[in-house]
Symmetry: C3
Subunit: 271 residues, 3 copies
């Protein structure tokens, strides 16, 4: 199940509505096409509900947020809920400004989110002051103690919101409050490619649309897929290549990705 969702994405070609930032919108569109989905970027309140209604999933991303884009997210989020479409939420920069933190909270309050995907500090800002894990303050989740605290934080947020929570970093964690997966794939250069998080959120939308029966497995599978493609891209780098070529190679690898490669390369642990 975990490894064949990519096949379902290619078979069903879900149309994914992205309300996202302009920094990485092009990469998100190309990586959705690479995995077999069909992207529609539209962020205008005047049309966002109608666009969502034509789609199989919705991805909302707080990068380069504006009041107009936030309004479109709320409208489309509610429409997706009404239609039973999966909603993925990427709280880019939550915690970096009151405007974004409040926007994230408003979205969590007014829209039923299926999957939240962020880094540790973003997830911590969503879990809020009430979190017992307030001291989690580094992106490094590789020591056992830090990993355990990140897991507790993710579980807290999932318990509070009913969403699957994915924390990405050197390792990724995904949980629905009960089951917890740790994805050990990936490569350090991914932190030097802008929009890896955005791209993961985008394809998570496609995976969730193709496998509505399990949001958690869809999220785990998408994270493993991107991480493995990051590894494959890093392995292609010549001594002259850097992060720009690696970005292209990573999207290329998604284009070529099969469930066989996913099965062979995935390094996933159920905690």
């Amino acid at each position: 199940m975990l490894y064949d969702i990519i096949k379902k994405v290619r078979l069903t070609a879900p149309r994914i509505h992205c309300i996202t930032n302009y920094v990485t919108a092009n990469d998100c569109a190309n990586i959705l096409l690479a995995c077999g989905a069909s992207p529609i970027m539209a962020d205008c309140p005047e049309e966002s509900a109608e666009i969502t209604a034509h789609c199989g999933g919705l991805v909302i991303n707080l990068g380069t947020l504006s009041p107009q884009r936030l309004e479109a997210m709320l409208i489309s989020g509610k429409k997706a809920n009404e239609l039973g479409l999966p909603v993925v939420f990427d709280p880019v920069g939550a915690g970096a400004s009151e405007f974004r933190t409040n926007a994230a909270k408003k979205l969590l309050n007014e829209v039923r989110i299926d999957i939240i995907r962020g880094n540790l500090s973003e997830i911590r800002s969503l879990a809020g002051a009430s979190s017992r894990e307030h001291g989690v303050d580094t992106a490094d989740m590789l020591t056992d103690d830090k990993l355990q605290r990140a897991v507790r934080l993710a579980k807290e947020l999932s318990a509070k919101t009913g969403s699957v929570t994915v924390i990405t970093g050197e390792n990724d964690i995904a949980t629905d409050a009960s089951a917890v997966y740790r994805i050990k794939n990936g490569h350090p250069i991914m932190s030097r490619i802008t929009g890896c998080g955005c791209m993961l959120s985008a394809i998570t939308g496609a995976f969730a649309a193709a496998a509505p029966e399990s949001r958690l497995l869809a999220a785990v599978s998408a994270a493993a897929a991107l991480d493995i493609c990051g590894e494959l891209a890093a392995a292609r780098l010549t001594s002259a290549d850097g992060n720009a070529s690696c970005r292209n190679y990573m999207i290329d690898a998604v284009y070529r990705l099969t469930d066989e490669t996913l099965t062979e390369k995935a390094n996933i642990e159920k905690l």
Copy 2:
């Protein structure tokens, strides 16, 4: 004539004002530079007329539309008309929302458009309910019957608007209501690269600016040029490359494109 417009673009280096979406703006700018033109992206009503007045052509593209961008399109479109500059219109997503369909109609009513470039469903939504070809509802134009219906649809729209109409798909069709060209170049992977349509519309603006004596030939030539560059790009792909590298190779191919290559590779039929 058909094959040497690229040479004229390189000689005259027309400045092209693009009011376009943020998803593919970077690719549109780079492909305009690749063909020898000079892009200016500006979408703010406060300055759009003035920017247009410094340019040799205008390209308006409905992707990620907003009311402000629409206002800029109307202002710049009228300025371009006043100055006799070619106007290319890319009705991205027309038909996907009332807001976009109405915006497209408003633009067609208030601006004299030289060339409309869209896919079949976008063109159908512009031709409107009055079209006798209401049943044309697939992107596939490869069977004779479907091709003939697409041709009739394009001719209808051209007759109604006075514009050249270009429908792109597996094959491309271009018509000015009387003459019809079918461009058989291209490669399936182009449908997996975001913004191929936007890029074609962008360079069509440059071709039209460089060859004002024939809007139809400019449109045919630009479509053949991009399709051939798509073929050249696909031919460069290694077994690890995918749509991201292909996008780069396609723009690269435009950068290297000569009228000799165009002449040699073009597979164009006058219907």
Copy 3:
């Protein structure tokens, strides 16, 4: 000093707030990551001061300007001034419309700018009607006479504003009104890559943040770094590669750039 700022950028990893255009935002983010800095793109007046306050430098860029983005620039510029953070200003298109020229003047009046980076026509429009060098009207600075006039123009603007002025073209000039540097590196294909100027302004912000003791040397070093990476990228081009691959290779080269390479390749003259 000149050549080891890149090392300091990698060591200190400054966070750079960019209020920039959507055409080249992705490239700016990736090139900041390539040189070891950390980009934050945010352009909304509701949060821009707060975002700036988390950063080590601010880069404001007039491309695809809107009234909202201008407001964010003014707010963030004042916040950066208050906190003593370096501010880099890229007056994209100044002179192309009244809206942009006025925006540029407003920014120069209300924000203390550390470094202005533009091409000759943009810098001339900032120097204004009062400039004795009104006749400087070509991007070509390679004849001695034209170079001297560009130098006088840059010095005038620096004297008037207190900023370091960088004019980029076939050669680059940087001055703080007294010392003048000429950077002879670079490659003609850079003029065919959209956003080379924007990317330079972005990394100039990172260099200035890492070397606050000398804004002029930071600006010279950043210009040399990008120019040398343009040369390295051009040297990698195959006969099929063009401007799209070159863009990637250039960012890749920044990712790989060492102070040794900078020292070896730099062709800088103190005038």
